[in-house]
Amino acid sequence: MKRLYLLAAAAAATAFAATSALAEDTITVGFTASLTGPLNVDSAGQQRGYEFWRDEVNAAGGIKVGGKSYKVKFVTYDDQSVGGRVQQLYTRLINQDKANFLFSPYSSGLTAPATVITEQYGKIMIDSGGAEEKPFETGNKYLFMVITSASHYLSGAIDALKKYDPHAKLALVYSDDPFSKAVLAAAAQQAKAAGLEVVMDESYSPSTTDFGPIVNKIVSSNADAFLGGGHYSDGATLARQMHDQKANMKWISILVAPADDKFAELGPAALGVTVPSQWELQVNFKPQFGPTTAQFAKAFMDKMHAKADYHAASGYTVGVVLQHAIEQAGSIETDKVAAALNATDITTFFGRVKFATDPGHHGLQAAHQMVLAQWQMVNGKLGRQVVWPEEAKSAPIMFPIKQQ
């Protein structure tokens, strides 16, 4: 009997030693995802990107710091898309789950409340799911964003228009939601700076289903370039109705909707439509760190059985950037890694990543460029091609749009 006790004690001791050894070589990354509530579809894509990165890093032996390898462990909860819950859960992630680093929840509206907690405890949080700039203008020290912010979403479209049609007359028609309004407000300013004329600037309710009257207004404004949209259904309907009512636009840029493969269902109405995108499968940057686009896309397809989209790519990039900073810092201490993030300037398959370091915009993405994808006929089938910027393009731009 006594022997049994000894044995049990020994077993417990080994188990304890094993877990503590394990704990020593693990980096805990915490985040919440919106598994329920209105943000769940977009949040799921981002989470797949995070998880795919973790699996890849661990399969390759973990993150290497000063001759030691750290495996990555995730702790994650459902935040129900509610700000108050986000604060509760990030407090828990930091204090109870002892997360070393944090990833952001999805959307600017949830990142802002999370930041109150992470900044307070001086924890690094990397953001890939909130494109608004306001959270970066409030003096945060440990918040970093890998994606291009809202005010630069349509910069590429404006540049392309300036090059191909400096006398374009623009109609800006967009959904009345925070993101679309921020994007189009910035686009209106950039258009003026580029000498383009804005002949119509109007928002519509996000629940609009019939765009007939709006399209009539676009036609009577004599606009020949369209910039706007918002979410999938309104963007797709706008494209279809502009085609049906023969609005004869030379240029159409719509947010979000044309980035979805479903957009091909519109047939001829989809042809020539451009969409700003954080990342496309066709993008060909030469990575200094991490996989190439082709390697990423194939590995993602093999493991997740789905085509990688930009939510997954930006989620993955968050991980890659953290890994790079930890390896550069040679430490998992927050201040050293934060310094390494401030100094980061690398190109991954997602594009260049560099963070603003001035106090008024600290952590905002300063280098990543959006690409402009255009729906074109590829081998007799509709598909997206990257047409802007010139150095990333996979096909020549179609301008003006040729109606069929």
């Binding site: 329920t36 509610v82 108050g84 509760q88 307070q120 306001k134 409030t138 309004k181 921020a182």
Partner: protein, 325 residues
């Protein structure tokens, strides 16, 4: 003096003890994780208790109680952000403004009864949300982001979250005492009469339109302050969060589960509901089907405890009726 009369009853002291335990529980061991869970409990208890004034006493279903919370949040965050007012003054002004607004709204829509009143309250939520989305000083649909500096007057972010917690518990405590005080007053008796039969109450001399508007306005004051604290703490407010109908509906469900018309029942219902959600969300066993489990539990409660939690307790322990209000 009514307060002295209330203080002679044991329930007054039971409440005081419960609130003190609630306030001090996370202080021991500096348990911030517990504090963050409890502050959400306090929000739910505040919302449900004030909703109970309308629902449980006067018998009016208000789907729009979230309007008070959201408007209070907006007023407070706006005053702090644009005019650099101190938090306390902003909260007080938010509470008073929203109450006055509720009185004006109330005199209008409280002519409606039953389902029509309930529908009108949903309409108010939509209207106020549309207003906030288009009101430029409030940031329109992208809302207001507060800078981290707002916590400096409260002693930095770490201390500020404690201060906010104690203030939120105070608001919760005041909500409970308000419910209790109204229930024990002549005003409360009038409301209960309206809840039983409004026409009969009017004939017996209860000034029904005035009482209804007053209770509607009273039920706005503390939720507005709670909203101010909540969104100040989040450092962010936008229309879709501020006027989220889900929270309104949850407050209704909670009040019914706990036992509408009772002070303790509604509070315990709100506490248990939020603790259950919080537990399911973070438990390794249930996290993946937390909605399913909470749905099934709610169904069981509705099926087997139709009178809510207090109804069950009163039936099985009749003597508690004298102690627990």
């Amino acid at each position: 003096m009514p307060l002295v009369r209330l203080m002679r009853r044991p329930f007054f002291w039971i409440l005081a003890l419960a609130i003190a335990v609630f306030a001090l529980a996370p202080v021991f061991g500096n348990n911030v994780a517990l504090r963050e869970a409890l502050i959400l409990d306090a929000v739910y208890i505040t919302l449900a208790s004030n909703l109970n004034l309308m629902l449980g006493y006067a018998g009016y279903i208000n789907f729009g109680s979230i309007v008070f919370f959201g408007l209070g949040g907006y007023t407070c965050v706006w005053l702090v952000n644009s005019y650099h007012w101190p938090l306390g003054a902003s909260l007080l002004v938010a509470g008073v403004c929203v109450s006055v607004l509720a009185l004006i709204f109330g005199l209008g829509i409280l002519r409606l009864r039953g389902a029509f009143f309930a529908l009108a309250t949903v309409g108010i939520v939509e209207a106020v949300q549309a207003f906030a989305e288009n009101f430029t000083p409030w940031g329109g649909s992208s809302g207001i982001y507060l800078s981290g500096d707002i916590f400096t007057p409260l002693g930095g972010p770490a201390r500020a979250l404690w201060v906010i917690y104690f203030m939120m518990v105070a608001v919760m405590g005041l909500s409970l005492y308000l419910s209790y005080a109204i229930k024990s007053s002549k005003f409360g008796l009038g409301l209960l009469a309206i809840g039983q039969n409004e026409d009969a109450a009017a004939i017996l001399g209860v000034p029904t339109p005035l009482y209804k508007a007053l209770v509607y306005s009273a039920s706005a004051f503390l939720p507005a302050i709670a909203g101010g604290l909540y969104f100040f703490k989040s450092a962010f407010i936008q229309p879709s969060d501020a006027f989220d109908l889900t929270l309104s509906t949850e407050a209704l469900v909670v009040a019914m589960l706990g036992g509408q018309g009772t002070v303790a029942g509604v509070a315990i219902g709100a506490f248990l509901y939020e603790e259950l959600r919080g537990y399911l969300l973070t438990s390794s066993m249930f996290a993946n089907f937390q909605l399913f489990v909470s749905g099934a539990l709610l169904l069981l409660i509705v099926l087997f405890f139709p009178g809510g939690l207090m109804g069950f307790i009163y039936r099985h322990f009749p003597r508690t009726q004298k102690v627990l209000e």
